[in-house]
């Protein structure tokens, strides 16, 4: 359960105050999949980042599974993220000096998982990269890199997965594969999924679509009809 109330974010850009989010409130029940849409600069990535505790809002509150994250210290937030949140970036953000396996190992080791290596191997297998575990990011294609990022985000089986345009840097076929993967994992692990996207096609795969404009919620739709499509993803 994600509860966002009166969330505002103001930054200073080139010396002038800019409002990125303006009094946003929403609730996302557990296991729901949500697409956040909107034009560039509408504040969707910022909303996602704030939900992950990657930055502090100017005002408002964010409760994840009953925990008010805006008041956590940096260390508390980091520890909270370790077990509760998986995050997928548009440009993958793998650590270039680590192999695919080691990238996936990071969250598992952070969580103190004893069987980290086995689990990392297993999940890389699941995303279809069992044969490339010892490759470095530069040796992988974009799609493969994003698969590693997905594996990394799911490694600790977080209850919440936040994905910031996960297919934005990929061609449409590869993007489709990544979405299938994400949705399959969502189904298997019962993860709450919040996904920022420009792609209407991807948005229609979700339970719910929230549209932002100028930092405010413009619309918030439940798409009951599409829900059943999720049951049959083509991996």
């Amino acid at each position: 359960m994600i509860a966002v109330q009166h969330l505002s974010m103001r930054l200073t850009a080139a010396g002038r105050p800019v409002t990125i989010l303006d009094d946003v409130s929403l609730e996302i029940p557990s296991k729901q999949t949500v697409a956040v849409m909107g034009p560039s600069g509408s504040g969707k990535s910022t909303l996602l980042g704030l939900m992950a505790g990657l930055d502090r809002p100017t005002a408002g509150s964010i409760r994840l599974d009953g925990v008010e994250i805006t008041s956590l210290s940096e260390s508390q937030m980091a520890r909270f993220r370790r077990v509760k949140i998986g995050y997928i970036f548009q440009s993958f953000h793998l650590i270039p000096t680590l192999t695919a396996l080691e990238n996936v190992l990071v969250p598992l080791e952070l969580a103190g998982n004893i069987a980290a290596k086995d689990e990392a191997n297993e999940i890389l297998q699941t995303v279809g990269l069992g044969h490339r575990v010892h490759h470095y990011p530069v040796q992988l294609s974009g799609g493969e890199q994003q698969r590693v990022a997905v594996a990394r985000a799911f490694a600790c089986r977080p209850p919440i997965l936040l994905a910031d345009e996960p297919t934005g840097n990929l061609d449409s076929l590869t993007g489709r594969h990544i979405m299938d993967l994400v949705l399959a994992l969502h189904r298997d692990y019962g993860t709450t999924l919040v996904l920022v996207t420009h792609d209407r096609g991807i948005a229609t795969l979700m339970h719910r679509v929230i549209a932002l404009r100028d930092g405010r919620i413009e619309s918030d739709q439940i798409l009951p009809t599409t829900a059943d499509d999720l049951r049959e993803p083509a991996l």
């Binding site: 980042g49 940096e74 650590i95 080691e102 952070l110």
Partner: protein
Amino acid sequence: MSQFIFHMAWRETRGAWRHFLYFFICIAIGVSALVGVSLFAAHVEDAVSKQAKALLGGDLEIRSSHPLSAESRAVLQALDQYGIIRTHVSELIAMAARTTQGAMAAHATQIVELKAVEPGYPLYGTLNIEPSDSLDHLLHPDRARCGTAPCHGAVVQEALLLRMGVAVGDRIKIGTIEFLITGLVRTEPDRMANAFSLGPRVIVSEAGLTESALVQPGSRVRERELLQLPSSMPFEPLRGELRGRLAADHVRVTGYRDAQPQLKQFLEQLSRYLGLIGLTALFIGGLGVAMSIHAFMREKLKTIAILKTLGADSKLLIGVYVLQAIGLGVIGSAAGMLLGIVWQRVLPPLLASGFVSELLLQVGASAALSGVSIGPLLKGGALGLLTTLLFSLWPLMRVRDIAPAAIFRREVDPDSGDPLSESSWRARVGLQDWVGVTTVAVLVCGLVILSMWQAGSWRVGGWYVGGVALAILVLLGCSRILLLGLRLIPRPGSISLRYAMGNVLRPGGHTAGILVAIGMSVVVIVTVSLVEQALLRQVGESRPVDAPTFFFIDLQPDQTEGFAALIAERTGGRTPEMTPLVRSRLHALNGEEVKVDEERDQDERRDETKEERRKQWYLSREYVLTFLDELPKGNEIVSGAWWQPGQRLVTPQVSIEEEAARSLGLEIGSHIELDIQGATIRAEVSSIRKVDWGNFSTNFYMIVSPGALDGAPVTYVATIHVDPEQEVSLQQAVVAAFPNVSAIHVGDVLRNFASVLDRLALAIRAVALFCVITGGLVMAAALAATRYRRLYESIILKAVGATRGLIARTFAVEYALLGFMGGIMAVGLSSALSWLVLTHVFDLTWSLHPIVLFTGLTCTVLLTLLVGVLSTFRILGQRPLAVLRHE
């Protein structure tokens, strides 16, 4: 979690070894300098303490400046019944004269350090002589070698043969008799490795000395009685008893454990200051560490932000990178330790061919590792590791400033700036919050403690840290000012000059850091050279033209007339300045008997203040007195009044030198009692003098009024200035006519001093060279940090048509500019430092040394050019498209 730290630290190091190459070398070189110096010092010190008995000559030594009284001799004779073995040694300065016509260039007369020994010498250690016959045999040659008349043998240092053009088997005249040279002495166990000696050693028998008639009343002789105790007998009780029973003779009784304090002190000081220069090299290397880590952090911004989004907090990440730094520090320090072992084997024989290797030979010090090597090795390793830790902690603390937001904000807005570019200076130096303040405090305290540990003294360590901190601040300030000045200069028309200036002035280019590193490393070496030059000039050139050529010592009263006549005859009527001398000791101050406290051991003495030590020195020393009618040249009365010439005084009066009066607590009207070989005279302090000790004439702490010393055993010292061409013949004539008189040639003494100074300065410069090396490494590290940017820019320049030559020129001008700015700051600061040292430590006047400064500046520019070109020449060959494709 801890598993994560270890794994991450390893993974982050694995692929990044290039980044840490300079880090590693900086630490290794710094540690090797420290370890090399302290290993060498430890090995020599160990050998010295193992050879303590041999260095002293016995378990106990009784030393005096005059023959012992009959009572004292009886005390010593009584020791024989306890199984104590005794031997007597006399040491004095004498003149040796050739008896045959030698080679043209050789001296016919030569000042020598004469040592007369009894059978049984040496009690401990070995006398290294050639041929390997018994010393006794060599000193008492048989008829087969001497011929009909009985004769005495002499074992001499090879230098004597070379200087006088004589050989083993020839005869030399010392005093009134001839000695047959029967062998060579290589090393003596109890001759302190003399960096500074008046002449070569000649060993004769006591019987030979007596017959030579060299020792006259008042002659300057060091009488040593050496005792070997049965192994079951501890030396302390006997030392105490002898001090009591021989007190009337003013002897100095020394046990082997407190032997050679001067040698120990010299070694201690040498290793302390060389060690501190080594530490400076390590600290400059620390700058390289900080720079490498800083550059590494800059590259790791994204990784750190990603790791934070994955749930790693700052503490954990700092743990990862600190562990990495520790690992690299350990390896670097270990390499430094190995390199240090190599240095201490290679450097000392290479550098200090003179006195240090002689000392090594004498005490049998070896470079082989042993138990005593562990301390210096561990200390060097620990200093390396701690320096690494301290210098990497600072840049690593900035991990906290990297927010995970940085990465997603960049996703949102690619132009959202560099998360590490803070505006406030407090943030830049890490003082923005209490964690930062604590880190900086830990860093500063750590450096202070490290320095004090290395210096082995709070005071010296404190001065060192203060000096280094001040130097860094001054250099930093100067580099800011220079850069500001450079910014104000209108950009020149030449493209390469314009780009070079742009590179130097670019923000984030580490320019200030490079300048400080260059400055620091050059300052040490230039300052040493400046001080050395000033000292050499002082002893060499600043001698007044009429300064005496010779000091003739040990003239007897009945020889003065004949001597003056001889001088007049030889020099065309010049008169020597003759000063009467009487040896004495302080007996009482203001009616209170002086107690020289010799019982205190070394440790107690260490705790004393400088004032107390100075007072003890003034209380226990021997005073050479003179009586004069007139206030001598170079003396100035600061209080009281000089006596009227010819005035007969009821109470004898004494004029005291300013410093001595202050340390002894004497004022006008105070009374002192002086002991002159058992007789006591009482005198009233009537004036206090300031003495110019550097005036090249005979100077005195105490001068008494004429008549006060009537009846005391007097000798005379004569000084005379002669023309260079008269020197040799005059010396020969004096030695022939007055064999007991020794001629000390001022020029020779000063040359000797200059060569010692030169060798010392060479040793210091050798260690200072490590500072230059680490300084160069810091610059290379800083340039490596900007390598990619340079590569990119040179590619762009090439793409728009710049030739490789133009780019090379641009880089060369930039490095030369850096070297010039760093060099200017360094020579400026060196001049200031040398001024401070010369005026405050050596009491000399400072003057500008343009040649040293110019050489320092030129070498700095050339070295920075070399380092810069070596660090970046590979960039020049890169083809534009290959690089741009990767963009």
